[in-house]
């Protein structure tokens, strides 16, 4: 465990900093992070609504998450924790979103399909960080020092609204993809797949197969 490399990045992250991130590196962040997921993508990309704030120079980190937050009587927010949501569902929006916002770090749960790193993120100079666990809501909640802004709260609800968080020592995250499009998840998956055949050895197949069932254990479920 002591062998894992750890870095702390100031945001917005520079191209040089991003280039140093290798799969498996542990990362902590300082600066501003914003949330956007299907509700926001739908509005901005599909419905062509303008972004509610200029992200350029402010934040280039898109967190796929939603907070456990409630509004206090004075209008301020109480953010208990934040936990990422599975990112592969947002694959179809990534190209447009990165182009539109200049986002260079995507954070979420579980990574994106391997091809997305090669074809979309890496060519744009962007990398993917995964949350740890994934249930580290309390640790990440601690790292949020302030809710800087929130947009579309009434329309999209707490989970889907676009939140801007000021963060300090926010993490840990683990680097999944680098600028070459390598993926930690995919590399580990490949290694685990090699052992799967042996696990099933000697177990006879069920009498009735299910429609659409495959026996290829290397198929990505994403």
């Amino acid at each position: 465990m002591s062998e894992l490399k750890q870095v702390r990045l100031s945001l917005p992250a520079t191209a040089e900093d991003i280039a140093t991130l290798e799969p498996g590196t542990i990362v902590f962040l300082d600066g501003v992070v914003y949330t956007a997921r299907e509700g926001v993508y739908q509005k901005v990309i599909a419905e062509r609504k303008p972004l509610p704030i200029k992200l350029d120079g402010l934040s280039n980190v898109n967190f796929h998450c939603s907070p456990a937050a409630s509004r206090n009587d004075d209008g301020s927010f109480n953010v208990g924790g934040v936990t990422a949501t599975a990112s592969f569902r947002f694959s179809k929006w990534m190209q447009d979103w990165l182009e539109l916002t200049g986002t260079r770090i995507v954070i979420g749960k579980g990574g994106m399909p391997r091809d997305d790193y090669k074809n979309i993120l890496a060519p744009m100079g962007a990398v993917y960080l995964t949350t740890v666990g994934y249930g580290t809501g309390a640790l990440l909640g601690r790292g949020i020092t302030k809710v800087r802004d929130v947009f579309w709260l009434d329309e999209l609800g707490i989970a889907q609204a676009m939140w801007l968080f000021e963060v300090e020592n926010f993490g840990p995250f683990i680097v999944d993809s680098d600028l070459k499009g390598n993926s930690l998840f995919a590399t580990h998956g490949d290694q685990i797949n090699k052992g799967l055949g042996a696990l099933y050895k000697g177990l006879k197949a069920p009498a009735l197969r299910r429609y659409g069932e495959t026996d290829n254990r290397e198929d990505e479920v994403l």
Binding site: M1, E3, L4, G24, I26, C65, S66, P67, A68, A69, S70, N78, G80, G81, V82, T83, T85, A86, K109, G110, G111, T130, V132, G133, Y134, G135, T136, G137, A138, L139, L140, G141, R142, G157, I158, A159, P172, I174, L184, F185, H188, G189, Q191, I192, G195, L196, L199, Y200, G202, L203, K204, A205, P206, A207, L208, R210, R217, E220, V221, L222
Partner: protein
């Protein structure tokens, strides 16, 4: 007669406790897995989870921001009586859910499946679920809440008697590998297996096995207990750890519950109770005293009875 405000208090307190404090049996289970995990990344994840639970308890904030689907399991003593009856109790549970959502806070997770309308309080049609059971010869009421992660880690299949234990093992592996990849089910998990019953009972038993039994608990049928341990080891030999990294930590424990089923079938369900295995129980006594714990003690001998009659012993 138990005053209804005792339930307001108990139902809120367990929602808060479940969201913030990881049950000790689960925490110790994960802590012992850290020692057995030889892979750097997998052991880093487990240690980070231990830190996370400390932060949650220390700061009194939810351990995971994903509330999952908060719900209740109620066990009513046959001699208990509740002020206002069961309707009043269900109302108290809905109130406690809305209050906990605002005050803990819990992320509002419950929306209409089609219109996606969100009342921002985790209350809606059939939400929170309330499941009822009974216990002979006692006058208390046990109120348990479970906040189980919602999206991944559960599957069901109709197997047939001829598929045998092999069929069970294959389906079990299928489910764990599918949902374990990239850690979608947030393993290491308490794995619940439901065997038999009708389809809905099969799902219900598997879920209750995962969520309502503690780490280390064994089924009273010794052959089923052996199968639990065998399946637990099998999970930890997949070669997968937390987040789908190479490792050996998939199952903290495995629990099996059975129900008599159709003579031609052997339905199976598999459920995973995740790294935020949130459960808490309150026993509300007839005199209004409330006792809190993390072991739901749901599967009593009465629940598992196979006889026509139940004789109080």
């Amino acid at each position: 007669m138990i005053a209804i405000d005792r339930f307001d208090e108990a139902a809120f307190a367990i929602m808060q406790q479940a969201a913030i404090d990881i049950p000790e049996d689960y925490r110790l289970g994960i802590r012992s897995m850290v020692d057995g995990e030889t892979q750097d990344l997998s052991s880093f994840v487990l240690k980070t989870m231990l830190d996370n639970w400390e932060a949650a308890s220390g700061d009194r904030r939810p351990m995971c921001a994903d509330t999952g689907l908060p719900r209740y399991y109620i066990k009513v003593g046959n001699d208990a009586s509740i002020e206002g009856g069961f309707v009043a109790l269900e109302r108290a549970l809905r109130h406690a859910t809305a209050r906990a959502t605002q005050e803990v806070p819990l992320r509002p997770n419950r929306v209409h499946p089609l219109w996606r309308t969100d009342s921002n309080n985790n209350v809606g049609i059939n939400a929170p679920e309330v499941e009822w059971s009974f216990e002979p010869n006692v006058d208390w009421v046990d109120v348990t809440t479970v906040h189980k992660g919602g999206l991944f880690g559960t599957d069901y299949r109709m197997l047939f008697p001829g598929d045998g234990i092999d069929g069970i093992k294959r389906f079990y592996l299928d489910t764990l590998v599918a949902f374990g990849k990239r850690g979608l089910c947030c393993q290491p998990a308490i794995i619940g297996v439901g065997l038999g019953g009708s389809k809905d009972t099969c799902m219900q038993l598997g879920k209750q096995a995962a969520c309502l039994r503690t780490v280390g608990d064994r089924n009273p049928d010794s052959k089923i207990a052996d199968l639990e341990l065998e399946l637990k080891d099998m999970a930890n030999n997949i070669g997968m750890g937390p987040m789908g990294f190479v490792g050996s930590s998939m199952a903290v424990d495995c629990h099996i519950e059975v129900g008599y089923t159709h003579t031609g079938g052997m339905p199976i369900s598999v459920h995973t109770f995740c790294l935020s295995s949130r459960r808490a129980t309150a026993r509300v006594h007839a005199d209004g005293k409330i006792e809190y714990r993390t072991d739901p003690r749901w599967f009593t001998p009465y629940m598992r009875r196979d006889t026509v009659d139940w004789s109080a012993s």
